[in-house]
Symmetry: C2
Subunit: 194 residues, 2 copies
């Protein structure tokens, strides 16, 4: 067995990123997330703000709009460049050594890597709404609507580049409801599988 | 916290039933599966063979056919009686004490029980095909087709009575790929959550 990679996909507000960070800390391996954005930006020459705005986290559907607009005559877009660079970086990181990678379709990109554990973290709407207001400091009005919007964009991004369904049980080795189990228990289970 | 119930839904050939049995043995609590069929048959006055044939495991689509045919003037069928009795028994078993319940839409029936951990066990087609031939003694020709048929009927039965999607990640607290993790690891994780 070579390097051991854990990819974490997650619903917005499920605490999946926290699970990833705590898991990596517990295992003494790096966790890649914002780091990847920076690296993408550096390698690509894209402005980091551009990458942040148009990556997976794009608000208001801008990534999707840009995925279809902004295309040259060959149907090529900045989004596609970003995807290609991101893919390359994730493959390199996985090659480099054991790590946790949160989001970025890493589960799909590393689907042929036999040493990759694919995880999905989700939670009920109520726990997630509570979390985004309390932990992420989001506005407390209509959090359910914002959660649905975020999920929708994340799912659309995933499906656009992977042709797979985001959050479909068969794509993952383990899925955990962090709202019911709690963050610590999720970290424990995953550490036990490493 | 009152009784603690673990419901296990599973893809055919994933070894979910074995996980349930081994988990229950490890925790020293009962596992209900074939026992439920017998109890349903006894209480309902249905012939046990009838129940076996037309329950969740029905082959060749017979349960679905019977769900729509065999109805009286009020649109009522034997299937519905069976469902009602099964539901009653599962609620009683959950009331009686901690246990593992495999299949039978128990996750849905106990959805309002706060002490119920809902689990889904699945595996890739290759592991399942290997398992049904080696462990269940099924014919070795075209196992993938039979697996798909079984899943299809199980999903249809679930959806018919629950109006929920079988195997959808949000219905479960934990989903595990037994093909990658192995039966023992699945049992360990679930025992750790009890």
């Amino acid at each position: 067995m070579g390097n051991r990679i854990i990819t974490i996909s997650r619903q917005f507000g499920s605490g999946g990123r926290t699970v990833g960070k705590e898991l990596a800390a517990k295992l003494g391996i790096p966790c890649y997330d914002a780091e990847i954005i920076t690296k993408i930006a550096e390698e690509s020459g894209f402005d980091p703000e551009y990458v942040k705005e148009r990556g997976e986290y794009a608000n208001g559907g801008s990534w999707l709009a840009h995925a279809f607009s902004d295309r040259d005559r060959n149907g090529h877009s900045y989004q596609d460049d970003l995807w290609a660079i991101q893919r390359k970086i994730i493959l390199e990181l996985a090659e480099k050594g054991p790590c946790v990678i949160v989001g970025r379709c890493a589960d799909y990109i590393l689907r042929d890597n036999p040493d990759c554990l694919r995880v999905f973290i989700h939670a009920d709407m109520e726990s997630r709404a509570k979390r985004i207001v309390e932990q992420y400091g989001e506005r407390s009005d209509a959090p359910a609507k914002r959660l649905k919007d975020k999920d929708k964009h994340r799912a659309a991004y995933y499906q656009f580049y992977t042709e797979m369904k985001w959050g479909a049980v068969e794509n993952y080795h383990v899925t955990l409801n962090s709202g019911v189990l709690g963050i610590e228990k999720c970290v424990d289970i995953l550490a036990g599988l490493y």
